[in-house]
């Protein structure tokens, strides 16, 4: 559907960037540049893990972000379902956050299994944290699929908000059942004491710059989703008008 030509009289769609988001984007980019510099060049090798430790500068921030993103999805979904704060804006924030969350959870799983191969000798162990993470990934892929089911914006919002809250119910159950299933939890994560100052600093830069990136992505993504909704609404209006002209 070519909307621009047929709706040239209506106001042009608002851009998805503002001065604030541009500044945010630049800050995130600079942060990632720093992360590359510190993570790959300036920070030292680990005594045990050698250069493999550098994966953690990506892995830990993306895991933190994925959890943050899913938390935001859950809270926005609750805000949508609560009648006094019901607004489609919450639904779009929830959707945008879940998309970014799935992306970062994917990065977490891939980087984590690469790191595991280097330091544990295997890509995967069946411990509670890993398994819960994998389930979160699949659950939110399902959530995104539910968002695409169609219907009105309100139907989509309600349905996906319920799904997000059910996921909040599901995740602790999966976590505890897996934890019980394999009680010998492999606690081989890096202890804080083993990281020297420069390593901690690199990790810190990673956390900050990934968080900035997350905020930037979510703001843009939810604006795109809002524009999508507008296109849907306007497309319907245009089609109605066209039918009316025909008769």
């Amino acid at each position: 559907m070519n909307l621009t030509s047929s709706s040239s009289s209506s106001p042009s769609p608002s851009p998805t960037s503002t001065r604030f988001t541009r500044a945010l984007g630049v800050a995130a980019l600079v942060g990632i540049g720093w992360l590359v510099l510190f993570g790959l060049f300036l920070s030292p090798n680990d005594r045990v893990q050698k250069t493999g430790v550098r994966i953690l500068y990506i892995h830990v921030p993306s895991a933190w972000l994925a959890y943050l993103a899913f938390g935001v999805t859950g809270l926005s979904s609750a805000a949508y379902l609560w009648k006094r704060t019901r607004n489609l804006q919450w639904d779009r924030v929830a959707g945008a956050s879940a998309e970014v969350g799935v992306l970062f959870m994917g990065i977490t799983l891939v980087s984590g299994s690469l790191w595991g191969r280097i330091s544990w000798g295997q890509f995967w162990t069946w411990d509670a944290r890993l398994t819960t993470t994998a389930f979160l990934f699949v659950t939110y892929i399902g959530y995104l699929a539910v968002r695409d089911l169609g219907g009105t914006h309100q139907q989509r919002a309600k349905r996906s908000a319920v799904m997000a809250l059910l996921a909040v119910l599901e995740v602790p159950l999966v976590h505890f059942s897996v934890k019980w299933w394999r009680p010998l939890h492999q606690n081989e994560t890096v202890e804080k004491g083993k990281l020297n100052g420069l390593m901690l600093f690199s990790l810190f830069i990673g956390l900050i710059s990934f968080t900035l990136l997350y905020v930037w992505l979510v703001i843009h993504r939810q604006r795109v989703l809002a524009l999508n909704d507008q296109v849907d609404d306007r497309g319907l209006d245009l089609a109605l008008a066209a039918r009316r002209e025909e008769s």
């Binding site: 389930f135 699949v138 659950t139 892929i141 399902g142 699929a145 539910v146 089911l149 169609g150 219907g151 139907q155 309600k158 349905r159 319920v162 799904m163 809250l165 059910l166 119910l169 599901e170 159950l173 999966v174 505890f176 059942s177 897996v178 019980w180 299933w181």
Partner: protein
């Protein structure tokens, strides 16, 4: 009419439809048994089969659950029966409980057959000491599965033609039941020297699961099937 009255009517209706069409008996049960036979082909070792029998029984139950749930809601979406129920002002909580109850009954039959298949095909042996645990596991796990099945089945039914979504949404959710029910069944059967007392803690998990999704489903079902 209160939700419980509606639930009984819906459940009776579902079971009557099932009794007359015999989809469970003629299609789902043969499918489930076939899955059990295929497991034996894949694993190709008698000792291994006996060792993993409890897990295979529950895995086969979950695959069959997908089929049963789809059937359960195909009945509702054909001819817009679900919409008609809603237009008639029937409470969604009643529909949810009724469909869960009917699903529970069908799953119970299915699991009996699967357990029988495990005894025959996988040389599983039942012990008198584990019977109470086994029955409790079946009741608790099946109740949880019925609630989850109805909840997600309703969602997939609302989205017409998207049945492929059901396994993706439902299997991660029922994973705790697979773990809990398998461990409890192993304890009841004495697999690898496990004793019934090892199994009871898992019953707690299964009951918690059933309670959470029972309450959650009763509250959320209305918004999921809302069209």
């Amino acid at each position: 009419m209160n939700a419980w009255g509606i639930a009984r009517l819906v459940a009776a209706k579902d079971l009557r439809v099932e009794w007359r069409s015999r989809v469970l008996i003629n299609q789902v049960l043969p499918f489930a048994t076939l899955v059990m036979v295929m497991f034996a082909f894949a694993l190709d070792n008698d000792q291994t089969l006996t060792r993993v029998a409890p897990g295979l029984v529950w895995l086969a139950t979950m695959f069959s659950l997908l089929v049963v749930v789809q059937r359960s809601f195909a009945v509702e979406t054909a001819d817009g029966a679900l919409d008609a129920l809603q237009v008639a002002g029937v409470r969604p909580a009643g529909i949810f409980l009724g469909k869960s109850l009917a699903l529970l009954a069908q799953l119970a039959v299915l699991e009996l057959v699967l357990m029988g298949a495990a005894v025959v095909l996988y040389r599983t042996e039942l012990h008198a000491g584990g019977v109470v645990l086994l029955v409790t596991t079946y009741v608790a796990a099946t109740t949880g599965l019925a609630f989850v099945g109805t909840l997600y089945g309703g969602l997939a039914a609302g989205a017409k033609g998207r049945e492929t979504l059901l396994p993706l949404l439902m299997l991660p959710v029922v994973a705790p039941v697979l773990i809990g029910a398998t461990r409890a069944t192993e304890a009841a059967l004495g697999t690898e020297g496990a004793t019934p007392s090892d199994g009871w803690p898992w019953i707690g998990l299964l009951i918690l699961f059933a309670a959470l999704f029972g309450v959650g489903g009763t509250m959320a079902f209305g918004s999921l099937i809302d069209e």
